[in-house]
Symmetry: C2
Subunit: 173 residues, 2 copies
């Protein structure tokens, strides 16, 4: 097991600023590019991260910390963000994500004592019993997943432009 | 074709600051994690990006802009960075990358007139004739590839820690 609360928080607190540096001021060609029908562009990924801050990680964590064991985790709609407005700028969205994330990290530090709470459990609709340390590891890896998704989606815009170098570029595989 | 010089520069100029936000101050557990023997950790990826700024993109571009057509591109050693020192901090490495990248973008703007130079060619050792616009597209996608690599490598550190959620996390696939 590699999970460590402080090391996870290192990642969680860097993601908003990483995305801010990557996406602020980018032209629409990059921000609106996706991988084809039914796939997400960078803007939609940020909306999804916002939705997760609001309705996924903290509500689930709070459920797992309740006294009654193996409480059912609140459901999370992985597509809810697609119903959110895309009328606001990416900069406003990134700011919203950063604010929510900062608040959630503060809550997380208050709620979790690594000596006491990491083995607490909840009941996941698909997986059954899951642990606090698994939820927190997932939150961390979920950030990585979506940073990787954003750069992959943008890379694909140049899939044919790179000519024969396509062969050397693992991101297309 | 989607390639556009100004849009490519948007990405090229954001990569150093994106990596700076992602990696500065991270603990060694993250920075020294790799995907197994013969694979690169985040530190080594940054070293590779530095090596490319020095000996890949600009020397190749300059060769392609020479008057004699289809000049042989200078070779590039994709593993040269593994011989570089890892004694300095990640912060110093990121600073070096940022300085080199800034200089190269300035040179790029001076050297390239998109109306004149994008179809200029050179001779690549494996691919034969390649064009300036393909080299510049590749430079851009190469940044995306290595940002994706860094987050994937770090994600894998928690591959078992996420428990059953592994199934939902595309970065492990």
């Amino acid at each position: 097991m590699n999970f460590n609360l402080e090391e996870s928080i290192e990642i969680l607190e860097r993601t908003p600023q990483t995305l801010e540096q990557l996406l602020t001021g980018l032209s629409d060609g990059w921000l609106q590019s996706n991988e084809g029908e039914g796939t997400w562009n960078a803007f939609e990924v940020v909306n999804h991260l916002i939705e997760c801050e609001k309705t996924n990680w903290m509500p689930r964590l709070e459920t797992m910390l309740q006294e009654r064991k193996n409480q059912h985790l609140p459901p999370f709609d992985r597509f809810a963000h697609l119903r959110l407005s895309t009328e606001v700028s990416i900069e406003e969205k990134l700011k919203e994500f950063k604010t929510l994330r900062t608040e959630n990290i503060t809550k997380l530090r208050k709620l979790i004592d690594p000596e006491l709470h990491l083995e607490q459990t909840g009941f996941h609709p698909a997986f059954g019993v899951v642990r606090v340390r698994e939820l927190l590891s997932t939150w961390t890896v979920h950030d990585f997943t979506h940073i990787a998704q954003i750069v992959r989606v943008m890379a694909k815009r140049y899939r044919t432009d790179v000519g024969p170098w396509k062969e050397y570029l693992s991101i297309f595989k």
